[in-house]
């Protein structure tokens, strides 16, 4: 079982929308690989990502059809996350499937508390345990050297790139199994972008990653698999090299060569 997550035949309709925004989408997220989703604006790639930790469910009335399987913690079988109902199950799901957003979203608290927040929510109280995790997460997010002297400063005082790495550190402090990135570098400068990309390449050793990106070069640089979406459908999915070198569909080729989108 090398698929960490498996989206099968997913159709998703926003509350009140006349037509589905995603139609019959299938997408595997392989274990310890980076899967990229590309496509023009409005193609549904963020919508798909937001279905994978069911963050859509914060707003009522959306309609799911299909299956999104997530490998169980004991690795013996899959659970369809669309069958989860109780709030406790949702919380557990979101701890296992972390998410990084388009803009850095530091919480209005100190750097230390930002990272410790998820652990505190799940009931960890011991200062020493928290300290270990905070330090380790900051190391993993390549931020430790920059912030080790000011862990008790407000996190909103960091630069944009640092804030985004803080958000990644905050997500990995919970030891998720999958991390979803929703255009994580769209608000960052090129140098910060590069730092984030390098980090994502390293994170794949421990986590399975799915990333939505606007930037085709980014997808080509960091991903193992790529899915191209257009108008709510998965046009083509395959190894990144294949998608970019010899796409089998005309639409994919047009998009990659910059003819539209």
């Amino acid at each position: 079982m090398k698929n960490m997550m498996d989206v099968q035949d997913l159709t998703f309709t926003y509350s009140g929308a006349p037509a589905p925004s995603l139609q019959n989408i299938s997408l595997p997220v392989e274990k310890n690989k980076v899967t990229a989703l590309i496509g023009p604006s409005g193609c549904g790639k963020s919508t798909l990502l937001r279905a994978m930790n069911r963050i859509h469910d914060l707003y009522p009335g959306h309609q799911y059809d299909g299956v999104i399987n997530l490998l169980d913690s004991d690795k013996k079988g899959y659970t369809d996350i669309l069958t989860l109902k109780s709030e406790a199950e949702m919380i557990r799901l979101r701890q296992r499937v972390g998410m990084i957003f388009q803009k850095p979203t530091p919480f209005p608290m100190t750097i230390f508390e930002n990272i410790a927040y998820g652990l505190r929510l799940s009931g960890v109280k011991k200062r020493a345990a928290l300290q270990d995790v905070v330090e380790q997460s900051l190391h993993d997010a390549a931020l430790w050297n920059e912030v080790k002297d000011r862990l008790n400063d407000d996190a909103r005082g960091l630069s944009g790139g640092q804030q985004q790495r803080l958000c990644i550190a905050r997500a990995i402090a919970l030891k998720p199994e999958v991390i979803l990135f929703d255009e994580p570098t769209s608000a960052l400068d090129p140098i910060s972008t590069l730092a984030i990309e390098e980090m994502i390449s390293e994170l794949r050793e421990k986590y399975s990653i799915c990333i939505v990106t606007h930037n085709m070069q980014q997808a080509a640089r960091i991903s193992d698999y790529t899915g191209f979406m257009y108008l709510g459908e998965m046009i083509e999915y395959g190894q990144t090299d294949n998608i970019f070198m010899k796409p089998s569909k005309k639409q994919t080729e047009d998009y990659i060569s910059g003819r539209f989108g």
Binding site: I55, Q95, F101, F107, M109, L121, R170
Partner: protein, 327 residues
Amino acid sequence: MELIFKKLAQISASLLFVILAATTIVLYLSAKPAIQEFGAGFLFESRWGVEETKNVSEVVPNQELVVDGEDADDFMEDEDDFIDDEDFVTDDDTESETNDSEIIYGALVPIIGTIFSTLIAMLFSIPIAMGIAVFLSEIASATLAKPISIAIELLASIPSIIYGMWGLFYFGPFIADIFGGNTVSLLVAGLVLGVMVIPFMAALSRDAIGTVPDMLKESAYAMGATKLEVIKDVVFPYAKSGIIGSIILSFGRALGETMAVAFVIGGVYQFVGKVTDPTNSIPVVLANSFAESSGLSLSVLFYLALVLFVMSFMVIVVAKHYLLRRK
């Protein structure tokens, strides 16, 4: 064109300082005779309009003339008594200059009344207004939030005199039934003030909470937070300065409120033993006494107004410095 626009904006902004300075100077100049007469002792003197002869024999505090009113009608009579009293005192004021007696004015009772009625209002309104704001922005569905928001804005725009009348004829007796005591009292005044500022505070706090980015809330949910945790750890801290701002504005409004309080505080110069006793507040004293004041008694009112001015000013300054600076 560009230049004219800039100049106009500049003039509008500097007008602010002119108004502020003019108000302060007028207040101070008009209050000067009273300040010279009574000095800082004015702030700690609890008697008001009491004649004191140099060879002090017996001072009859005029508030004893006011009998506790059990219902609204009684109170109206009391109020009349009280005003007659005041007339008598001010008439006396001019005559007494030849005598060896003087009239003592002290602001302590209205100062205490103002502070406590405002504090009661805040204690009462803050939790309710926060509840409304959170409900509207985080919990209620859009179809529910809209009519409630409109209702809140309507309530916030009701003239305060209407709250005063409602407080006197309905709310006061209602409170008196529950807590005992008078239908006009410090407690009723505080609660009416509270009711009055709730929609105001709730609307402003809701707007402050509305500035919290959805993405920030989503990232807290994505960490496995529940709604309560998101509100407590992310929404409130993020919107803190806006919420504190709404509280300060409401506090200032309650502090200076005249009509609503004039109806329900009782208007007597008397310390409160319990919260259900009637007392007085600065704006009410001012509103009730200007018509029949002249000379020193008029100056005293300006002194009192200056005290209120400084109090409001200090509240804002202190709040800004201590609450908003910690970021």
